[in-house]
């Protein structure tokens, strides 16, 4: 992995802007931030709070046409975006993109966008409020397999640039940055380690994940938890790895079309059939499947990791207090109560 020194990120941003549409995280007055297309690159601000929406929508669009029909022929409507860069993605969200890259490996709509994207990751240096990325091997340092270029803010304010893909190497061509020395890499490891040590210790996360992974939790627990789930889809919408979708056909002046849109396996009607048979009628059954799907051994077998990247957005948004931290605490408490004396 090649490494360079960089005084200010704007040098890199302006260089990339010659070839890519730049998207950055923009801070809002209320302390939140969101992803936005930039006319011209803006200075990078330290991350105060994880953006409430992950960059999932850049690849798996919240709503998109799949095909159109003109009365005789069906025409696939695969998008053709210009090259773009997501500048400053956190390690958890990058891990989620790598997960979805596998899930949507054969999906032409996802891949049409994905192949046009350059991912510039930022190492996190301080824990975010709900995050536990280190517990699920998704941060706070960016995994080189998940980004094209990694930026690491050094104590003096300069940046260490790590090139982690051929695409990243090509994107830096012509920038002529000075090489970083090996001490810079040691310094990065130390800062990431310091960040991990700052995370609040919550043993229930690892314990709960173990219980879910072994599928040892009985149905009574899920029925109890289901009472608190409002089936609102807040968690599945914000989850950077959730990928369920529905389809809808519609007619407009240009013909007949089918679009897909983000759906949620936590909706009561998600599996309801035309006959009204519904295999997952109860919220508890849906929660059980949601959480075991995230943390099952089958998911690890299929994707090489859990389906959760520890961003904590589900905890942040859930009005019923059954996000990941709350659920894991409840699992650990329930299992302790149920354990034979």
């Amino acid at each position: 992995m090649q490494s360079y020194q960089l005084e200010t990120t704007q040098t890199l941003q302006y260089h990339l802007a010659d070839h890519y549409q730049i998207y950055q995280r923009v801070d809002l007055q209320n302390g939140d931030s969101h992803w936005q297309s930039m006319e011209s690159p803006q200075p990078v601000t330290p991350l105060q709070k994880l953006p409430i929406s992950s960059p999932k929508q850049f690849f798996f669009s919240e709503r998109e046409n799949l095909f159109s029909f003109d009365g005789e022929c069906f025409r696939e409507t695969v998008p053709e975006p210009e090259p773009f860069v997501l500048f400053g993605v956190q390690s958890c969200d990058l891990t989620a993109i790598a997960y979805q890259d596998q899930f949507f490996a054969e999906d032409p709509y996802y891949q049409a966008r994905r192949k046009q994207a350059l991912l510039v990751g930022f190492d996190c240096l301080t824990p975010c409020e709900y995050g536990f990325c280190h517990t699920v091997n998704a941060g706070p340092g960016v995994n080189p397999d998940c980004a094209d270029i990694i930026l690491h803010r050094q104590p003096g304010g300069d940046w260490l640039v790590l090139v982690s893909s051929l695409k990243g190497k090509q994107a830096l061509r012509g920038l002529n940055l000075p090489a970083a020395d090996s001490q810079a890499l040691v310094g990065r490891d130390q800062q990431v380690k310091n960040c991990i040590e700052q995370f609040e210790q919550d043993p229930s996360l690892a314990q709960g994940i173990d219980q879910l992974s072994n599928e040892t939790i009985d149905n009574d627990f899920w029925q109890q938890l289901g009472l608190q789930c409002l089936s609102c889809s807040g968690c599945t919408t914000l989850c950077p790895t959730c990928s369920c979708y529905g389809t809808r056909d519609f007619v407009d002046d240009t013909g007949q079309h089918q679009e897909r849109f983000w759906d949620s396996c936590l909706y009561e009607s998600f599996q309801r059939e035309a006959s009204q048979h519904n295999p997952s009628e109860e919220a508890g059954a849906r929660l059980k499947r949601f959480w075991t799907h995230k943390f099952s051994q089958q998911t690890v077998k299929a994707f090489g990791r859990h389906g959760c990247v520890g961003c904590g957005r589900c905890e942040q948004t859930c009005p019923g207090v059954v996000g990941v931290h709350s659920t894991m605490k409840r699992i650990v408490a329930y299992q302790a109560e149920s354990a034979p004396c």
Partner: protein, 280 residues
């Protein structure tokens, strides 16, 4: 890359079967679009501007791309289909899913149990088995609500010339056997003589569950039972998530499951409407 775009398909003709049920004849405009199918596999039928749903082939596509499906009008898509005129261009994707284990069935004493429109995924299988004639014995137990709703009367009469056939209707006095297939199983097994070595099920999930458990109690191996399940589907290629059965997707791993696999998956669910074997 996979494709989510349908292939243009002509609705050639249709004829009524039973109440709210019709046989539809379709023709793929490109006969090469679907080359080979297995009995029990399915296709997605798109009604442009309305929606799509999964259906089974009762007769698979021939060299001209012509195929048949037996469809009941139940929801938005099927109601719209029943309003289409012959000659209309619709869309088809497929074939999808895992079919019945034809090779494994050779040399076996096979009992097919179908409930209601669950007979549709068993039509192509039955025709194939009769044609191959490689089984030891073959019988069908079919259950429906009443004479009005029982399906495939003509086909079943034809099959009856070649194999034992039992029909049970829930409406009293409309058939020799009254009730559900589960109710009359012992009577049917008594008449069959030899106990089956392979059981194939398709119908309401609760009926299939009860039937499988009865057979296991009577000594049939779990691995000798197969069932075809129904699930809501949007993509049919394992992406949209709607057809999940615990860790499995019905569109790809199913709709045909071996009982022991299905049972393990079902035990992971808590559908209150289903009879989980361990609770029986």
């Amino acid at each position: 890359m996979l494709s989510l775009t349908p292939m243009p398909t002509e609705l050639v003709s249709y004829y009524n079967d039973s109440e709210d049920t019709r046989h539809f004849c379709f023709r793929l405009l490109d006969p090469e679009a679907i080359k080979k199918t297995q009995p029990g596999q399915f296709f997605m039928l798109h009604i442009p501007g309305i929606g799509a749903a999964p259906f089974t082939f009762t007769t698979p596509p021939d060299s001209r791309g012509v195929f048949y499906a037996l469809i009941k009008s139940v929801g938005k898509v099927t109601r719209a289909l029943f309003n289409q005129q012959a000659g209309t261009t619709l869309g088809v994707r497929g074939p999808f899913g895992t079919g019945w284990p034809i090779k494994t069935l050779a040399g076996q004493r096979i009992l097919i149990v179908a409930g209601g429109c669950g007979i549709a995924p068993l039509v192509n299988l039955t025709e194939t088995l009769l044609q191959q004639n490689s089984y030891q014995s073959l019988a069908l137990l079919y259950g429906a609500g009443s004479q009005k709703t029982e399906m495939l009367k003509a086909q079943r009469l034809r099959w009856q010339q070649q194999m034992p056939m039992y029909t049970v209707l829930e409406a009293p006095g409309q058939s020799e056997l009254t009730g559900t297939p589960v109710d009359v199983l012992d009577t049917v097994l008594g008449q069959l003589g030899e106990f089956p070595t392979a059981l194939l099920l398709c119908g309401p999930e609760i009926m299939m569950q009860k039937m499988a458990v009865k057979f296991i109690d009577k000594g049939l191996a779990e691995s000798s039972i197969w069932l075809s399940i129904e699930r809501r589907m949007h993509c049919a290629v394992g992406l949209c998530g709607h057809c999940y059965l615990h860790h499995s997707y019905g569109c790809a791993d199913g709709p045909t499951y071996q009982w022991d696999h299905y049972q393990r998956l079902s035990a992971g669910d808590t559908d209150p409407g289903l009879v989980i074997p361990s609770q029986i």
